[in-house]
Amino acid sequence: MRSVICSRKHIANANSRRPAFSRPGRGVALFLSLVLLVSWTLTLSGCSGKKKKSVTLFACDTYVTLSCEGKDANRAINEASDLLMKMDAKLSRGNKDSEISKLNASSEKEPVTLSEDTYYLLSTAMKYSEKTAGRFDPTVAPLMDLWGFSTGYPHVPDSAQIQETVKNVDYRKVHLLSNRTAYVEPGVSVDLGGIGKGFIGDILMQKLRAFSLSEIILDLGGNICAWSSSSDLSIGVVSPLDTTKMCCTFTLSSSTVGTVITSGAYERFFEQDGVRYGHIMDTRNGFPSNTDMLSVTVIGADGTRGDAYSTALYALGSGEAKTLAMRDNIDCILCAENGTLWVSSSLKGKVHAQEGWTIEYFG
């Protein structure tokens, strides 16, 4: 509307028969009218509204999608992507030059010095191993290799080999020394994959919060880390029985950082002689964990903690999982075989079951 008024005013000033462009006022009028017109229509069409950007990358052995909305979206996404790739290179066991590979090649006589991030994550992983009595254990990798979960050709290995390998699955065989140095005992191999995605999500979120953004949603291979300045976010939890559906949704209140991390054997498993073997190992006997649990979703502000506990709770089975969750104040959704969702009572009102699932609160 403003543009129309403006052009009329200048037409009223047009008092001679001279061609329009010979007069500076006319040119300016035309130009200003067009500028106003364009800005008005752009506002109408919403093109000058919130900027949204998302990018999908391959990192941490999975797909990572970073999405941001707000003024700084472009810059934020670029810097976060760089940080993601850097962290992945540092923590990946598959990368021969990574700090984790160097740690796995270390010995008591030749400990390695780790960067601050890696040392912090390793010590945090050890802390959670202790708290979960080894149900979460960062040294489980050789067992995963033996079962073929890391190579892509899963199979049931020889039981003597399992016995031999499980001896080296023990977080107590990783030694943290002063001055950020550490070493592992012979045969022990550390893989921070079970906690690394949660940690990287936390670091990325911390970095992104410094930008002028209104919404941040990070999806690290299904681990969700989200925040929105003004609206509640609805986060679905995939159904372990049918991965095209959800078993429940969780409402994340606005201006709170929330991580939603699910562990379960419904995506990575294989069948041999009619028995189903999942990828989460029972570190006591070296076999895939076989409990009444289909999946465990841990919700909270700390993704590192959520990642470690979701694995541990899954391996425990619903009875012991409830006890551990209550003891350590973990907000979680335990998805049991009979269609029951055991939900921490602290999440009351925030978790909504989908059709076919019933919620029962505990704690």
């Binding site: 008092n15 035309l30 391959f58 095209t244 939603v260």
Partner: protein
Amino acid sequence: MRKKDGQSNTSVKKLPPRNFRFSSGDVFIIGAIVLVCAILIGGIFFHRRAHQGDARYVRITQDGKVLLEMDLAEFSDPMEYRIDSERGHMIIFISSEKVYIKESSCTDKICVDQGDLTAPGDGAICLPNRVVVQIVSGGSEKDDPSGKVDVIAR
């Protein structure tokens, strides 16, 4: 603005006559503005219509690079899209109704088990081949009928 107006008035030193009539130049300016208006509004209208319709696109990416992005309506004749890379091969069936991964050289076949992809938001991922097959709508993904949630944890 005011300064410029003042300048133009002093250069003419004459107020507009009362029986003012549009000159050819005035008509030209009005015409130009109306034309630009029409083009912009028309452009926005068509842009919105194109994005609001229920157009579904299939998007296939490998290693984050887009290999194919096409309107499903163009597949009234179904086709089989083949991917051959150093990681392995895949065959993706595409028709105007649905898309699914028909064959994959990967060992776990999780991608093949995903079945039919029909609605915007549906997707299948093959990690070994680093391939993502998605159905996306023309509009922003939040407007999808399947997008009752902002994101799904798995």
